[in-house]
Symmetry: C2
Subunit: 342 residues, 2 copies
């Protein structure tokens, strides 16, 4: 029921996902208003056999405060979808609904894997010159200590492997320079832990802001404040340049003619930075798979979010995370304690 | 002598600046190897009458550590240029040299205006849909408390007015959302100070990463860690999209023909995001004007950095800053002190 469009986009998205995931045994629990869902299902062809509708009377509105969602959320479609993950009826949940409510309900029902994490981290799949780089956290944890930054590395690595198909993802830690002495205490400490913790991944050290779009590494780790600002700054820059470009290509008859000739190439270019193709990021750090779709996603975009959940569920994602978390725990306890001053 | 090219670019840049600043009484002290400077001067026409060469035997290398520059910097061209500001022989210094050394020597010789600032802040002039937005700090102060963030606002406002010609610049504080409760403690406290401090500028509250390129405000304030990463992320994104665009417009004969037709418009577009046109940012917070040019700047770019210094020197920049700094001081001392627990 979530997102800007509800079942009118979600159900066609399910139909797309069914096609895209053909050959994989994926089935769908659809939570929400049964009549509305059935009506949409009737118009998308033969997918009903893979779907089961779970009726719910109520929904959480897109502008509901997370605290209200927690208090009055029970029995809503969003709540029921997460509960199905908790009870093992579903291997993962996908929602285009209210982000704050989704986080709060997921955290309440599924609990965080690690006590250090205040709330789930959000990962962005970022198109680069070399493919897709996973950047996290992009919004949930406003301050992050060294241990949390290492947890982001662990979760981002497992995500990149499960969803973007890398076999040995490379990890970088976002900083303002590449020397060991650069940056604030948290990043320097995380750098040390990542180098010395014996993790099962390929840590490459510090990277800078321009390394993201270069695709220097597969996973870029940062705190939620910096990550959110980097992501939105990049979106703003991309829109700025697209606007200038559009203005340039429609300025006068010669330019318009030129644009027309170059149109097929320009369309192929657009496909490389199509937001639908990278829609869907898991809420990381939960005991269970919950994928957030952009609220305004179209059917193609939401189908991609479904694929992210299916890829995660089919992978050894949770085990990879668990193994590296054990190493982190060992590394932290092996470190000499700070002296206590009486 | 600084930058990637030394006098072979700096002297032609002076010649450009002389033309651009025609009618304003600007004269030039040129610090460095006299023979090399005179040779370059001979080939740029009639500017020697406005220039005075101050010979120095030594230079600070581009890769010299700041600590070394401080120890052995005396008598180098960079040192002498800053010293001329200190002694009042020059109204400002412009350098394309080693950034760390320039900061360290400037701080030593000119001292910081405010004891709170660890080192000078760097301001970036950012092209936006509406003009130029000043973003600071973009690199020097890795952590910034609320008071420092307010100081950035004060200095950025005076800079925007002096250099980009706004009469009443608008200020925004970079955050991960627009509500008062968003962000970490430092930004929330700075937000309160900026709203209630009675400053002589137009504070508009929190802005997000995508507001920078939109040009929502004239001055965007943030700590040096976030600002540096935002700037480099934007540069990376711009390069990424330009690369895709170039690939698209050279893919096959039809696209190439189209690009050719649109070329004049595309060139006009490039001019809007030409780095030379925005080169030169002052080191803010010093008792004196020091402008840093990009090391790789061409003559047009370095001429722009000279114009920045001339604009600052001709403005009431220092007085504006001093007045608002007094207000900040009053606001901080008016605030009730935290209770002391025995």
């Amino acid at each position: 029921m979530g997102g800007d469009h509800g079942p009118s986009v979600i159900i066609p998205a399910v139909a797309r996902a069914v096609k895209r995931l053909d050959g994989r045994d994926v089935r769908y629990l659809l939570h929400g208003d049964e009549a509305a869902i059935r009506e949409c299902l009737a118009s998308v062809g033969d997918v009903a056999s893979l779907c089961e509708v779970r009726h719910s009377d109520r929904v959480i509105a897109m502008d509901e405060k997370p605290a209200v969602a927690l208090r009055r959320g029970k029995g809503t479609s969003l709540w029921n979808a997460i509960e199905a993950v908790k009870t093992g009826h579903a291997n993962g949940a996908v929602s285009a609904g209210n982000t704050g409510a989704l986080m709060a309900v997921s955290k309440l029902l599924l609990r965080m894997q690690s006590p250090g994490l205040e709330r789930p981290a959000i990962v962005a799949s970022w198109p680069t010159l070399k493919g897709i780089t996973a950047v996290l956290d992009v919004g949930a944890n406003v301050t992050s200590d060294a241990e949390q930054l290492v947890e982001f590395a662990i979760m981002g690595e497992a995500f990149h492997q499960a969803v973007h198909g890398s076999t040995k993802p490379t990890i970088g830690l976002l900083n303002v320079g590449s020397e060991d002495v650069k940056g604030h205490e948290e990043v320097r400490e995380a750098h040390k832990l990542l180098r010395e913790g014996g993790f099962d991944f390929d840590y490459r050290g510090f990277v800078e802001g321009d390394d993201i779009a270069k695709g220097t590494v597969d996973v870029v780790v940062t705190d939620g404040f910096t990550g959110n600002i980097a992501l939105k700054t990049a979106e703003g820059t991309a829109r700025f340049i697209s606007t200038l470009m559009k203005d340039a290509l429609t300025a006068g008859p010669m330019s318009r003619m030129g644009a027309l000739l170059a149109l097929p190439s320009l369309k192929r270019m657009r496909a490389r930075i199509d937001p639908s193709a990278i829609n869907g990021g898991p809420l990381l750090g939960l005991n269970g798979i919950v994928v957030k779709s952009h609220g305004g996603a179209d059917a193609k975009g939401f189908a991609n979010a479904i694929k992210v959940a299916a890829d995660l569920a089919a992978s050894n994602y949770a085990q990879r995370i668990a193994r590296n978390m054990e190493r982190l725990d060992a590394a932290i306890h092996a470190a000499p304690e700070a002296e206590t001053v009486a």
